[in-house]
Symmetry: C2
Subunit: 308 residues, 2 copies
């Protein structure tokens, strides 16, 4: 079985959407990524940090899904990273109400011994210096290193981000971030520029408009599943990344053909995430439900047309 190491936040979120609001609930990039990837059966572990206020029951939820949390440092006298946001009516934009870094401010990641030989490395959205620190702690390069990042790091830590981007294989960012990172409006041109920064594979996430995978002049598109109701988009991008790296970890195949399947897997998992608040839907999700929806993705996209 492949090993998959996931670095990212484990956090408290407080979310408000047009359909309701939550108190502090389980959140964080590594949480969503690992819950999603765990559907694919890799031996996965998290590197993160939480405070003494973080319920043991939340870690147990992850452990129940066979997610190793030995790499989640607990700072007993510290507070867990907290994010709060309010979505607008169209659910496509949101206001951040609070970002309390807390224990994340001085995070020194430590890769557990039994994950130093990880096959796959997923660097969730975090300070690029933390991402780089994890790369350095792994003596033999993993088969594939995937990085997620965001505009905040482009604005504030450009040089550090460029150093990390030069060392990875796959970057996943949204369309606006791809434009910011490359200075190109056309996503085709943006992907070309980003290839030149290092990553052989560029995944551009467009939310409800799907995701594009670029590699060496090739391009593949995975739609988002059209849904009757979207409840809460929080974690959808991380869940997409988790489905992507989860599929790759299960198959061990890093060809472009298999990455197509991986972005479909990512879209598939993300389509569930948004159906309920926070991680709720991901906690009850079954293999059968995923397989059924995969069939829907086939029906949604596959056509048969002869060249004449």
């Amino acid at each position: 079985m492949s090993k998959l190491l996931i670095v990212g936040t484990v956090a408290f979120d407080a979310i408000e959407t047009p359909f309701g609001k939550t108190d502090k609930i389980l959140g964080g990039a590594a949480t969503y990524i690992s819950l999603s990837a765990s559907q694919f059966g890799a031996e996965s572990g998290i590197v993160s940090v939480v405070g003494g206020d973080f319920p043991k029951a939340y870690l147990s939820k992850l452990n129940e899904r066979k997610i190793n949390t030995d790499g989640v440092e607990i700072i007993e006298n510290g507070k867990t990273f907290f994010w709060s946001g309010k979505y607008k009516n169209d659910l496509n934009s949101r206001d951040t109400l609070a970002t309390d870094l807390n224990v994340l401010a001085d995070f020194n990641p430590v890769v557990p011994e039994n994950f130093k030989d990880t096959d796959f490395l997923m660097l969730g959205n975090l300070h690029p210096t933390v991402q780089m620190e994890v790369i350095k702690q792994i003596p033999n390069r993993p088969k594939l290193v995937v990085l997620d990042t965001m505009n905040f790091w482009m604005d504030n830590t450009w040089d550090e981000l460029m150093e990390v981007i030069a060392k990875i294989d796959v970057i996943t960012i949204n369309d606006e971030e791809a434009r910011q990172l490359s200075g190109e409006y056309s996503l085709v041109k943006a992907a070309q520029k980003i290839h030149e920064m290092g990553p052989k594979f560029v995944v551009i996430k467009k939310g409800e408009h799907g995701a594009l995978l670029f590699n060496d002049g090739n391009v593949f598109f995975a739609p988002a599943l059209p849904l009757e109701d979207v409840f809460d988009p929080t974690g959808a991008g991380d869940t997409f990344a988790g489905g992507f790296i989860g599929h790759i970890s299960r198959t061990g195949d890093i060809s472009f053909e298999n990455m197509k399947r991986a972005v479909i897997a990512g879209s598939n998992l993300a389509s569930f995430c948004v159906e309920k608040f926070g991680t709720e839907r991901m906690e009850t999700l079954t293999h059968d439900e995923i397989q059924k929806r995969l069939l829907q993705f086939k029906l949604l996209t596959q056509f048969d047309i002869e060249l004449s």
Copy 2:
């Protein structure tokens, strides 16, 4: 060979994009629809109206592509419909600078005798009363009636529009128009509401984000081809509709499976339209180019993933 009747504007356009601007050039919904559909070899004719100022050479351009213009009335002492618009930097929004209805203001469409037995009817974006008038002039219902419309008619001629919508098989509108027409934000719910108004098939155009086809609980998605450069989006929606009805006319098959291929054909043709100003690209487009790009659409969307 199937007959295809196309109703819509034949016009002058003046276009400004970030890449340049044009004087008055050939434009209009029926122009783009017919140029696109002509690639598929149906016997097609236009019902429209122009003024005495409309160059005979423009009509000849259409005739050269075997588009019958007997139904294009020429009002010698009138002026041709004129539209002028300026696109913003992202090419996704535009300001209308002028809309001079001219001869269109009193348009009484007349279906030529040899198209009264048309197999397929494409009602391009026009006053719904004009669209209804054409439906009434065709004694035996065509195999398929496709309607394109826009928010302007929803704002100003709701009742007349509802009467036409009740009589057609396929409606093509953009996402914002689908939301306005249905009062639903979710496009899945919007399509359900629009089905109830009459059309069995609902095509929602999302521009650079592709198009959705809904029918009786089934949904299919055709992406837009990611392009390095988009020059001028004018006519892309009409070109999409022309490719859609062109494919249907060529095959004579109105099954959902074949409509999937039709929306791919529409996306394919539209991807060319935006590469140059106005109708320029559509005038030089060849069968070979279309076939090559169809292969690109296959590579863009087709994946092979086993259910496990």
